[in-house]
């Protein structure tokens, strides 16, 4: 997507009148602020932005922006977003949602969105819990966690969103936390600017059902900037190795950015159109295809 700022926008231009009904201090407040900031820097007018989500606390986020929002159904934000982007490639299309929305019920859509490589930015609010339904295991919950649905402790290994999307071939993979607001806004902005599918995992604490270790102040203590580590963001295998530490370390910043972004699906579509449309018959004449030979 080529991004040309029309005029100066400020963060508040992206903030809607709807009052968030998140619990006080929910991490998602920080995420939406970071999104406002990133969008202001990008400078696309709100009506040229489509913001899609599934269902969950985190999925309420589009309603809190002035973009065209689509708070759809649980787990289906990615297919809907792809339809939007294909219908109108000029739009800036954002996708957001929770860890359950994205990697449990919606997990089957992720590899396909990534291998198609549409220019979408997917922001996952990973709180390692089901917030909206009041505290059950999420796919990123650590093994052993006791929740409403795992009274005696979970028996499963968590999924690793970062490693998964890297192995799916995503061109841009980053992580952030509202404990570092400016870093978070930065990776969101970078993800949006990346011409292709961008995935941003945000460690966004659930203060009501989440675990103690996932509170912002704990993040503040244990987060570790990848930039400070001088991580080479063009090295996918290195990124995968770092991603293995998901759940143990809290790396922030860019894990991987394809230095030579692959052509997007929209580009391939445009090329196909350029080739085929000129030679087409009119829509009204489509039935002529069926004259018997």
């Amino acid at each position: 997507m080529s991004i040309v700022a029309e005029h100066e926008y400020q963060a508040k231009d992206y903030k809607s009148d709807l009052k968030p009904i998140w619990c006080p201090s929910c991490g998602d407040f920080g995420v939406v602020s970071a999104i406002y900031k990133a969008l202001a820097r990008i400078g696309r007018p709100p009506h040229e932005i489509a913001f899609v989500s599934g269902i969950g606390c985190s999925s309420r986020i589009p309603g809190y922006t002035t973009a065209y929002g689509f708070n759809s159904v649980h787990g289906r934000a990615l297919p809907i977003a792809q339809g939007i982007k294909l219908a109108n490639p000029d739009l800036l299309v954002l996708v957001a949602g929770g860890d359950g929305d994205g990697f449990s019920i919606g997990g089957g859509h992720v590899p396909h969105a990534i291998r198609r490589n549409l220019d979408l930015t997917y922001i996952l609010m990973d709180n390692q819990i089901y917030g909206l339904t009041k505290g059950q295991l999420s796919p990123t919950s650590p093994r052993g966690l006791k929740t409403g649905s795992s009274f005696h402790g979970s028996l499963e290994e968590p999924v690793n969103p970062l490693l998964y999307v890297l192995s799916y071939g995503a061109g841009f993979v980053a992580q952030g936390t509202p404990a570092d607001m400016s870093g978070l806004a930065d990776v969101i902005e970078e993800g949006i600017r990346y011409p292709g599918f961008a995935f941003i995992n945000v460690q966004s604490p659930c203060v009501t059902y989440g675990q103690e270790e996932q509170q912002l102040r704990v993040h503040k203590q244990k987060m570790q900037s990848l930039k400070d580590l001088a991580h080479d963001t063009t090295d996918r295998l290195k990124a995968m190795a770092l991603a293995q530490e998901y759940g143990i370390k809290l790396y922030t910043g860019v894990f991987y950015r394809n230095p030579e972004p692959a052509a997007t699906f929209e580009t391939a579509v445009r090329e196909l159109h350029d080739r085929l449309v000129p030679e087409a018959r009119l829509r009204v004449d489509i039935l002529d295809t069926f004259r018997p030979q």
Binding site: A50, L86, L276, V284
Partner: protein, 597 residues
């Protein structure tokens, strides 16, 4: 001389019996005959049994016909596998390969003796003249053209076009095989009046296509810009055609990872302002249920095609059934009403598909287009369609002044609210599956919920007055009535004609709009009716039940319903009508049968 001829042929997959039928049909279409050809296959991908029924007529016909006039069996095992799909009776001419070693008086047909049974050395002739078994179907073409005087020249021309590409040797071989078939027929005249009358007029503008192709072509005509789907028998050919053609019109075809993603992407495209479609069959419909409900509450236009096949579950993917009506209407959770319409033929699929888009866009609703395998996969001759008369509807966008203070779900008089899409300045709103107020803000308030339910359902009321979505034929004051839909409508229509010829006073209603149910139109139709039949291909008699929900059917109206792939024949309908006529004459009103008979 006959005006109407029904040929049924069966063989194993490699025998090319279906392609013979197609060649014959194409030749007949060029002569100006009307024709319908349906195919039926076993479960194998290759080498299984396959069959086709070709009905040829000098007049337009709506049904694939019942009992065969001509039956061709390349081998008996495969022929018999089709059971009641290829019914033979005492008037049928049976042609079969003599290499089956079956004696004409020992045919493995159950309790019928056909009029004539002619063993022909089909395989032998093919080998002898073309040097390959592959030419068996060409021999059959020669036999049919010879005996029944069917478009000899055009069939030959077709053979030349088809095999011309395959090299001199193949072409010559097939020419010889065809000639041998003709010769055999000439040498063994059949003493029956089965020769076809000449076509009424050579119609150069005729089209030849199946229902899936028609559906896809009509979608392009209607302005469809996005297709999201997932392959499934018997609907896949819709995607195939679009994958070839839609791109040429600037549209996009997405083979999604599953049916949910397919309809999800279509809903997204619709939200983004484009006309969008998905297509599937039963199992895929079941998966699309949730997102169909989303489209209902978010008030997004969407066309969802279901080409019905045998169910439940995977059921019988290759056979036709009309047992997804309940699902089409009622599968959503919550009070979600969505229009369901059904074409009655390949020809009608054009108008109904355009109608599906028009209704979707006009009322901002998902529309289920309920086709069935019979219509979707049968080929028909279709007279040229004057597309200038076919109206295309676009969604009502907000005006500038409406955008000044835009209220996406405004409760208007019609219930329809102007709809914006991303890119329109001032039209920004939140679409959602959560209940919302007029502005689009999520709500849990009961009164808002009630008002929005009312709006979403009220907006569809005008559909109930669309008399053009109903066909009524026959004697308007008749005491006897039929209702039928989809591919069965053709059978009912033909039964109507025969029954009236036999002196019965009967009429027929064919609803193409199946939901919402138009109480008024049915009430008018049934006013003077005493008895009748609701004819459909489902075990439960689903249309019969749906009508009862909204219409007080006269007591004598019964369900004539049967599981898919067990045809309901014209003869049978006529005899049921006869019985009902007798009952009425004797003052007996038949009781409707209980459920789960």
């Amino acid at each position: 001389m006959r005006n109407d001829l029904i040929i049924g042929m069966a063989g194993s997959g490699g025998d090319g019996i279906v392609s013979a039928g197609e060649s014959l049909m194409s030749a007949l279409a060029r002569e100006g005959y009307y024709a319908i050809m349906s195919k039926s296959f076993g479960s194998q991908i290759r080498g299984g049994e396959s069959s086709c029924r070709l009905r040829i007529s000098t007049d337009p016909v709506l049904s694939p016909g019942g009992t065969l006039d001509v039956a061709v069996a390349l081998n008996w095992e495969d022929f018999m596998r089709f059971g009641s799909e290829l019914p033979v009776d005492g008037r049928t001419v049976v042609i079969y390969d003599s290499n089956t070693k079956v004696q004409p008086d020992k045919l493995p047909l159950t309790e019928v003796r056909p009029a004539v049974a002619i063993p022909v050395p089909i395989q032998e002739t093919a080998r002898q003249h073309a040097g390959t078994d592959k030419a068996k179907n060409t021999v059959v073409l020669g036999l049919l053209a010879g005996w029944f005087k069917l478009a000899e020249e055009n069939v030959l021309a077709g053979i030349r076009r088809k095999f011309g590409k395959k090299g001199e040797q193949v072409l010559r071989g097939n020419e010889r095989a065809f000639a041998a078939g003709l010769e055999f027929a000439a040498a063994h005249p059949v003493d029956l009046d089965v020769v076809m009358a000449a076509p009424k007029a050579a119609n150069g503008k005729i089209l030849l296509l199946d229902g899936n192709e028609m559906c896809a072509a009509a979608a392009i005509f209607a302005g469809c810009d996005f297709f999201g789907g997932y392959p499934i028998t018997p609907s896949t050919e819709i995607m195939h055609f679009l994958s070839k053609e839609l791109w040429k019109h600037g549209g996009t075809v997405l083979q999604a990872e599953d049916e949910i993603a397919g309809i999800g992407a279509a809903v997204g495209a619709s939200f983004a302002g484009k006309k969008a479609m998905t297509a599937t069959s039963g199992p895929g419909m079941s998966l699309k249920t949730e997102i169909l409900g989303l489209a209902t509450i978010a008030e997004l236009p969407l066309v969802c095609v279901n080409v019905q096949r045998g169910g439940p579950s995977t059921g019988i993917p290759t056979k036709s059934e009309q047992s997804d009506l309940f699902q089409a209407i009622f599968s959503a959770h919550g009070d979600a009403v969505r229009p369901v319409i059904a074409p009655i033929s390949v020809h009608d699929t054009f108008r109904m598909t355009v109608e599906a888009f028009n209704i979707a866009e006009a009322y901002q609703t998902p529309v289920i287009l309920l086709s069935d395998q019979e219509i979707a996969q049968r080929k028909e001759t279709v007279p040229a369609i004057n597309t200038a008369n076919v109206h295309v509807v676009n969604r009502r966008l907000p005006t500038r002044s409406e955008l000044d203070n835009y209220v996406r779900f405004r409760v208007t008089d019609s219930g329809v609210s102007p709809i914006s899409h991303p890119g329109m300045k001032g039209g920004n709103y939140l679409a959602s599956g959560i209940e919302h107020n007029e502005k689009g803000a999520p709500t849990a308030k009961g009164d808002v919920h009630a008002r929005m339910n009312e709006k979403r359902i009220r907006k569809l009321i005008p559909l109930k007055h669309r008399r053009d979505l109903f066909v009524i034929e026959g004697d308007s004051h008749a005491p006897l009535a039929m209702v039928s839909w989809g591919s069965l409508a053709g059978v009912a229509s033909e039964a109507l004609e025969r029954a009236r010829k036999a002196g019965m006073r009967v009429k027929l209603l064919i609803p193409k709009l199946l939901y919402p149910v138009s109480e008024e139109i049915y009430r008018d139709f049934f006013r003077e009716v005493k008895a009748g039949l609701i004819i459909e291909q489902s075990y439960q008699g689903q249309l019969y039940r749906v009508l009862r929900m909204y219409v007080d059917l006269p007591r004598g109206v019964q369900s004539l319903a049967r599981s898919g792939s067990n045809p309901i024949l014209v003869e049978e309908v006529v005899s049921r009508l006869q019985q009902l006529t007798l009952d009425l004459q004797r003052g007996r009103v038949p009781e409707p049968e209980p459920m789960l008979g």
